[in-house]
Amino acid sequence: MTEPLVMARALVKRFGNFVAVDHIDFDVLPGEAFGFLGPNGAGKSSTMRMIGATSPRSGGELRVLGVEPDDYGPQVRARLGVVPQEDNLDTELSVSDNLYVYGRYFGIPRRQLRQRVAELLDFAQLAERAGDRVNDLSGGMKRRLTIARSLVNQPELLLLDEPTTGLDPQARHLLWDRLHRLKRSGVTLLVTTHYMEEAEQLCDRLVVMDRGRIAAMGSPRQLIERYVSREVVELRFDDEEAPAMASLVNGLAPHTEALADRLLLYTEDGDLTAQAVARRGLKPTNVLVRRASLEDVFLRLTGRQLVD
């Protein structure tokens, strides 16, 4: 059996009295893409920073690349790539100098580094902007530069904290493609996101986090199978009417959720349920039958929506 690259047992992070990460356990295996899915404030970034050896843990056990990150910070960081949630590029340096200087922090020899910088500029499709100041780049370009920067030391484990936030759909798909390529070349990915589509696209396995705890763990398919049914019927009502309607759909589906403007009916056959709704004489403004997603898993587990 291969040893996990990251192993957490009862891991805790406190800020003063506030518990941001509350006794979580998980393993990340070599070569896999592992995700943290959760709403704002769930503790995803706090967990990532502990793994990235830039935030000491407050309790529990943590091993990254086989050692304690708190004791071997520089050694661990030398082998990690980190894409932080907020870009923190060096605004006083040009695009290519950002990559070059970052490489120097890893002690990469100058000659080797120059070649690496050229490769990374191509990877990020920023070769034409190499001499520009970072502040003149668009948000998406900055993000790509940050991601390229995280690869300068050819990391074994790449930590991506909401890598595609602020990117347009095209840029997002491009980035997913790049990440798939990295994964194929053997890099282990750790991704946080609150986009379920991203989690489904990228992650072999993921945990759903909420208020510092892990609510569920598994592959996207497994989670959907385990916690929700195959299909969902969404009944949309006029403002604030939905909760009042909840009692009227009793018995139509094994499980229902009432949101402010919608009722969600979890069922094995959406069309049949939709017909049953019509027979009861309900008049929703809109009826939608769709496949269940991680969003539904989250709603089921926490009673709250992932993205409001």
């Binding site: 800020f15 690349l65 071997y72 661990v76 907020e86 923190n88 120097r104 922090y105 002690g107 050819q154």
Partner: protein, 269 residues
Amino acid sequence: MSSPAPRVGVTVASPRFARPAALVGRNLMVQKAVPYVWATGLVEPVFYLLSIGVGIGHLVGKMPGPNGAEVPYAAFVAPALLASSAMNGAVYECTTNIFDKLHWAKIYRGVVATPLTPRDIAVAEVASAVVRSALYSAAFLVAMAVLSGTRSPWALLALPCAVLVGLAFAACGFMSACYMRSWTDFDKVMLVQMPLFLFSATFYPLSVFPRWLQLLVEAAPLYQGVAACRELCLGQPSWDIIGHLAYLAALAGAAMAISTRRATKLLTP
């Protein structure tokens, strides 16, 4: 258990100064783009020397030196200006810059994700400031030799002395930057720096002051630099210099220790 082995090409660079050196290199790269900052930094102390040493010197005439014998005012005040410009330069260099990088540009957030530690950052920034300060001090010594007729070979030792002043105050500057919450806190730095500049026996001997103020000044950090530089530049060294230098070294060490702790808290919460 063994520590993890890095990939080819990546060195964790454990020697104490190799990691900060990369950040010093980054700072030099940025500063190379603004040569006028260097150039004007070399000129500024000379303005002070001309105005205060020569201009006011014309009004004052002579001043009693450390051993009581009268010396021309320019020769009296120049070493003090050397020390205080080392202080002003280092504080200027460290406070605004560092605060900007910490809180606005957030550059260090990226740096701590590499093998560099907050301590490496403190060392690198202070070292960068000291490099510049040393350059300015050397230029000042040359100007001083020309303008105020300093001839004693002891004056050469005033350079390391001024560098030590720069080091101590760069460390203090970094420390203050770590504790600042907003730009207006710079006013508080000014409130410390200004009395140090004006009252550290810079412009006239301590004997002017009442006894209590003399004791206060003798305990203040810039006074150590002024006294040591003055004795050396006037060619009248005493054993007191050892004490002055030890004081500055201790201040630098303490400020670095506090800076490291505070920066660690800020950057790796």
